[in-house]
Amino acid sequence: MREILQAIVNGILLGGIYSLIAIGLSLIWGVMRIINWAHGAMVMLSMYITFFAYSMFGLDPLIALPLVAVIMFIVGYILQMILVERTLDSPWISRLCATFGLMMLLESLALLFWSSNWRAIPVTYGTWTFCIGGIFISFSRLVAFSLALLMALALHLFLNRTEIGKAIKATAQDREAAALMGINIHNIYRITFGLGLAATGVAGASLMTFYFVFPKVGFPFALTAYIVCVLGGLGKLNGAVLGGLIIGIAQSVSAYLISPEYKMAVSFVIFLAVLYFKPGGIFGGVTE
Amino acid sequence: MQKSNIIFQIQEVSKSFGGVKAVNQVSFQAQGKEIIGLIGPNGAGKTTLFNLITGFLKPDEGQIYFQNRDITNLKPHRICQLGIGRTFQVVRPLSTLTILENIVTAALLRHNNYRDAKEYAIYIAQVMGLASKINKIAGGIPVADKKRLGFAQALATGAKLLLLDEVAAGLNSTEVDEFLNIIRKVSLEGLTIIMVEHVMKAVMNVAGRILVLDHGELIAQGRPEEVTKNEKVIKAYLGDQYKF
């Protein structure tokens, strides 16, 4: 019984990070109707940036985190400007190719420059653990989880309380109407993409407090993020949060009950079930 | 004296969207070779009704029969196979194909091999006045031609009942007259037609019977002269800018 509880707790902690990654993806989809196939690669990129912030400047990942988030925002803004923007009116396969190509490019460049060796940061608090009622909670994972939720909250507030945030929501609902109201659509798109990547920045930096990075690390995270988005409903941010937690728990519990290798298979079964019974996701997002 | 041959029946069909009844207990019948006009103010539920008939939407209640067969819950392609064809309010040609290929795709429903389908498609193109343009890419033709194409495709599927959704919209007077002629011709050859229209001149001139829909309900039905004098109908239209 305790082991299952432990698995659930671990699942929740990891799920928070899934949620954050998924929120970025869901936001980009919700506003621009683009699936960012390079999202996982972006997580990888932010993890490497965090790593080099440590290896070159001795920065602890949690300290580097805000910096990484800002860097990723800028990266997102620029990428949208020079690349993704061009494909907005092209057939969907163009967008698939553009973001997928980006992913391949990033992963292979990472392999080229940084080799396939695993990199990790030996943080001082790496082994700190709390024990509550017999359940062990790792400090780093707890911090990562909290940061993920904080970022999600920040995004929520941003979207609902600020002028730019509301403009983003307006654009997501009806791009032509928003344009008619004087909103600069292209700028909104760039900011949105930047925000989506900033979220991966926070996720990546948080991950570096207890995980390791290598060129293909982003792939399983991306796959899980897609599943989370579908589960919660593409475009629905609170769905992404809930979905992330559910998938985190599902993966953790199934890893314990069956075997770790079947994590993805279990997630995939959930994915299928959602698509079959409730295609709009838990919160019934846009099914198109 | 005409023997009654009811080929289409819709009984107490309703459909709601989030609490709003888009179609409310609508019932009517159609006989072979009839041309029926379906009119009503914007948002009256006309296109929803078409979608219900053609299987793109499932009714919440009620039954729909075609040639004595219950088609209420059938899939769109099945309904088309059984003989109900339609056009869409916003035309949707298969844009990267030529006009001919568009019609051939439709004709393949009744002609299993490509050559026969092509022959038939050329014939239909002639009927619709598209013969000289069959090799033009459907995405780049003017709206009137796209409408002709949609009509041609519905015909080519061998439809016995044709549902036309605002074919006259956006066309000039000559084009509308051309369409009306085709509709009359096609009806004489045995097709039944139900046409949704806002262009009153078009529908009043060609329809034998008019159905009036308002807020999802059938508020009047009868010959064009009767319907135009019907108080309920006039009231429903008051405030709209349609000319009688």
């Binding site: 494909t87 396969i93 392999l111 060129p215 | 196979q81 030529t98 439709a106």
Partner: protein, 331 residues
Amino acid sequence: MKKNPLPYNIFFIIFSLIILLLLPIFMKNPYFLDIAITVLLYAFLGNAWNIVGGYCGQASLGHAAYYGIGAYISTILFLKFGISPWIGMIVGAAFAGILAIILGYPSLRMKGPYFVFFTIGFAETIRVLFLTWKWVEGSRGIIIPFQNNPVNFIFFSKIPYYYIILGFLIIGMFITYSISRSKIGKYSIAIREDETMAEALGIDTALYKSYAFAISASLMAVGGTFYAQYVLYIHPNDLMSLNNSVIFMLIAVAGGKGTLFGPLIGSAIIMPLWEYFRATFGGRFAGLGIVFAGSIILIIGTAVPQGIMGILTKIYAKYSISKDNIVGEEK
């Protein structure tokens, strides 16, 4: 799909065919022959993808699963039951086709990105399944002992392999050609263009998508068997990877998806370059090949969605404009 006004000049085709048939005579170097075989194999696989992805518009990124399944079925039947890989190939193709229909069923109603997610997840699940399955040697892969004998579909020289894959490619392209002229093909294209309209025209979209999938998956499986018999070593990560699925799509898209010669052109350009990168730079520089592929995908995605055939079509159309108003006449 742009109406292709290229007349598929019959002389040009015959000429190319003759060159392809005589190639091994001029290419004595087994290394170049290997590249040629790779080009033909991937052209074959790209062509298979094209049936469902290009003509029917269902962009599957999970096709590598069928590729792998074909390879495993024929190999297992061969090594554990002594059945000739030729027969195993047919069995694998049939099995893949049926599997595509059964497993494809839930995906028939999925649209856009959901569908792509599904195909990726599906392939990944199958890959992991094979990795952990002891009976098929899972993560160690299977080595096929070199007992060369035509019945075993194993040959000492590369030349027979060349002609076999050339034959497969010709058959595969012929299948694509026949489909494109048939009801299945026209219906698939309609589904690709506008699924709702297709339904309104009486097309059972679920059925025809299934047909396209089944044919596509079967051909993929055949390719898998060929690979197994050529390389004589199979492993889930080599066969069922997302990378492979992407390459199949890339080859078809770069060459021109929905066109007959697209995959061949795409493969002829991409595979030799890929091979060049792979051979020249090993290890971590293997990344370079993928950098290259990634860049191509990027460029094509943003600038030339119609692929090379699209470019050729435009050029040809410019020269034909003088003829008359008719844009594109199908031969």
